[in-house]
Symmetry: C3
Subunit: 348 residues, 3 copies
Amino acid sequence: MPAERSLGELATLVGGQVRGDPGFRVEGVAPLEEAGPRHLSFFSNRRYKRQLEASQAGAVIVAPDDVSLLGAVRPALLVSNPYVAFARISAAFHPVRKHAPGVDARASVHAEARVDAAATVMALAYVGQGATVGAGTVLYPGVIVMEEARIGRDRVLYPNAVVREQCVLGDRVILQPGAMIGGDGFGFAFDPETLSHLKIPQAGTVKVEDDVEIGACSCVDRATFGETRVGAGTKIDNLVQVAHNVEIGPLSLLCGQAGVSGSAKLGAGVVLGGQVGIAGHVTIGDQAKFAAQSGVHTDVPANVTYGGSPFLRLADLVTEVRHLRQRVAELESGRAGPGGDGKGPSRS
Amino acid sequence: MPAERSLGELATLVGGQVRGDPGFRVEGVAPLEEAGPRHLSFFSNRRYKRQLEASQAGAVIVAPDDVSLLGAVRPALLVSNPYVAFARISAAFHPVRKHAPGVDARASVHAEARVDAAATVMALAYVGQGATVGAGTVLYPGVIVMEEARIGRDRVLYPNAVVREQCVLGDRVILQPGAMIGGDGFGFAFDPETLSHLKIPQAGTVKVEDDVEIGACSCVDRATFGETRVGAGTKIDNLVQVAHNVEIGPLSLLCGQAGVSGSAKLGAGVVLGGQVGIAGHVTIGDQAKFAAQSGVHTDVPANVTYGGSPFLRLADLVTEVRHLRQRVAELESGRAGPGGDGKGPSRS
Amino acid sequence: MPAERSLGELATLVGGQVRGDPGFRVEGVAPLEEAGPRHLSFFSNRRYKRQLEASQAGAVIVAPDDVSLLGAVRPALLVSNPYVAFARISAAFHPVRKHAPGVDARASVHAEARVDAAATVMALAYVGQGATVGAGTVLYPGVIVMEEARIGRDRVLYPNAVVREQCVLGDRVILQPGAMIGGDGFGFAFDPETLSHLKIPQAGTVKVEDDVEIGACSCVDRATFGETRVGAGTKIDNLVQVAHNVEIGPLSLLCGQAGVSGSAKLGAGVVLGGQVGIAGHVTIGDQAKFAAQSGVHTDVPANVTYGGSPFLRLADLVTEVRHLRQRVAELESGRAGPGGDGKGPSRS
């Protein structure tokens, strides 16, 4: 249970100003709908004005321009970016669970693995020969780190995550349960003589840079040669496929069930909505954004906001075709004409 | 190998009537195409009349209205809902495998976990501090139950399924292999000052109600606050994504690779076809049904059957446009006219 | 580190001819862009002529017809199929990691399992009662093989892969990390009396034939009756769903996040692009190929190349509709006419 903090302390934490009583005791944070009189909430989007008015929140994080919406009574914490301040304050109330360092007797750590004395290896986790695990890192039960993999500092690998041989993960990386790093890329050459798909050895690795998070059951394949790379600060949701030799720039966001095919290059700050598919070998510019279910088969320049679902486009097209159909019917019946006045052309 | 049963016994089990010999010995159940002379099969859809006629099945479960299709010779079990009766009888022939209760010596159970004496914890399974496991529940090898998770009675967690901290699962729940319950939701606030995506703590949990089944490698994320909820009796197929703060009503069906984005609310009896995507924050009414690959970006009322694949819609649209093209060509060539008689308008 | 080999040796290995010095020492293989002066690369597609010219590769595998593109200086290895030869030579340089045979003391192998003396069972792997594991097979940590499963020879099961009860895998099969074989198929009968989805027992198994590879977190469900079958030599990428009673012919390729619904039958050499969805009960002919994100709801004959993404089709359709709109507008304004000359019909 996190301790109480005063609004003044929290303002100091995020560099904000208090309006009202800085001694107001905050017991926790919550969204507007769920906050009670001892909770601090946040308001960052005027679409939620009604929720603000109805909220029981004892205090609210708000931008200076919006403070008037708050009424005179409630204490407020004024910051330029309420959502960012909320993230920082919520993190203060919900610190990452600490685990005692050390290797559990029921873990399996190879004699030639190097596990930092300040790392935690829980029961039923495995660290292979030549692998390294940095200080502050926690391997939950069922985590498998294979030979010569290198795991940085202050990482959390949740249960049953796997890091295969030689893959490298930076500092402060989080793997959600069942994330699979370093599976073989999908590469085969069809041999007409033996009538078989010959496996192309996947001799490369995966490099996951600092501050990356990878979701449950997401898969990042090792490269054929060289490395598959996930750039610093990028966040990947659940069930996402990142194929061999993909390069993802820093600070990108890949939503659930998105897939990036082999050798595609994504720039910095790219956003893939849910179930987006990126074809192999394409290049996506910085800050390009793709709505859910988009399919991308060609290079895309920087800063483009792309497509959206086939459904949205289809809806537009259906409307257009329906309209055309009517105009054609009018033409056929002789009722349409110049100016579209519905009277039809003069014909004799 | 399940024991033989008489047709009369099976009729009693499902509340049906026997036509023919109630002493007919049934060795097992099978679909029409695969059934032999000692098998009981079922017929529930007149589309499969030909399969019925060709079937070697010794006896058939059939609705009273359809019994005439069966011919005079074969014994029959008459019930109003043959498929439901078949499910019950098949369950009698294929009882769930029993495991001796107890904790295997190679499992890892925290001293402060509470595992019911009638539960089974197999080798290499893990139960964390403060977690509870109810009577009759089976944890297969590789199952990881983290701190303070609560697992009900008569549950089956297949190999390598994970239940993270504080998540709650009701009675008679089944997790298929590699199902991941309680990973962190995908929530970040971009901080322009530090140029980083700040992690929003995912301080909530997951509540999986009674009689839910969750497929292999499906992921249900924990809530930011409060709980992500999967309603009683809902069934989720493989590789399905259920994001943080989603609420799914009872008795819904989510087919393979469907995805539900954050804070979406699904009613009771909702059906999502394979690879369907539901956008965040939308509300889907009871009994709404979505064909495979549908993308849903807005609220949907109850009882709607939605969309279908972009492909089906595209096919219709392609036909429509082709037709329009021809009509326009005819207009242009002066051959079309009122009534669409193909003779063209009188023009002078 | 693989040893050096002479170009002459490698030519013998793949049945090719050397142009230039057969004693040229090759240290390894690499793609054109990354190869250095001691690397052997390959050239198989004239689209990459520029990469060939710019490459630092010391020697190149090339088809006889293309050898002129290579310039006179570099040694070459002439073969009819350079990519296949590259696959074989790369495999020679990157042999599959050997593991000492034997069962690790921290593995969990049932007394009644039969593990060949020449198999490797690593720490934290599990083999259940009555299961068999063939010679040369390697079970990585976290692999779970349940009761009576049968695992052939020379298989590799990467960490946390699962094979459930009674499933059968042939020889030389590879399961990538977290692949899930034999989860229950998704089959329920809605019972209006108890208002519940009754589980249909999934009493069948999975048969994975020889030389199959299955990707990370891919799921192949067990059959309701009989078996779900993956044909010899078929390769399945990551996060692919194969539902109960599916039959996949030999030598097919299923790319990432593709899904095949229940009882669908795929022929030999079928190719599914990424995120393709195949509906239940359809039949797909041999060699049929489906572009990424295709949705397939009907039977498809052999040798068809299907569809492509909704997006590609939409793009064509948008162009077509835009064109029609203009023609209709011209008709309405009286400017179009026979012959489409833009002058409009004579009207009086």
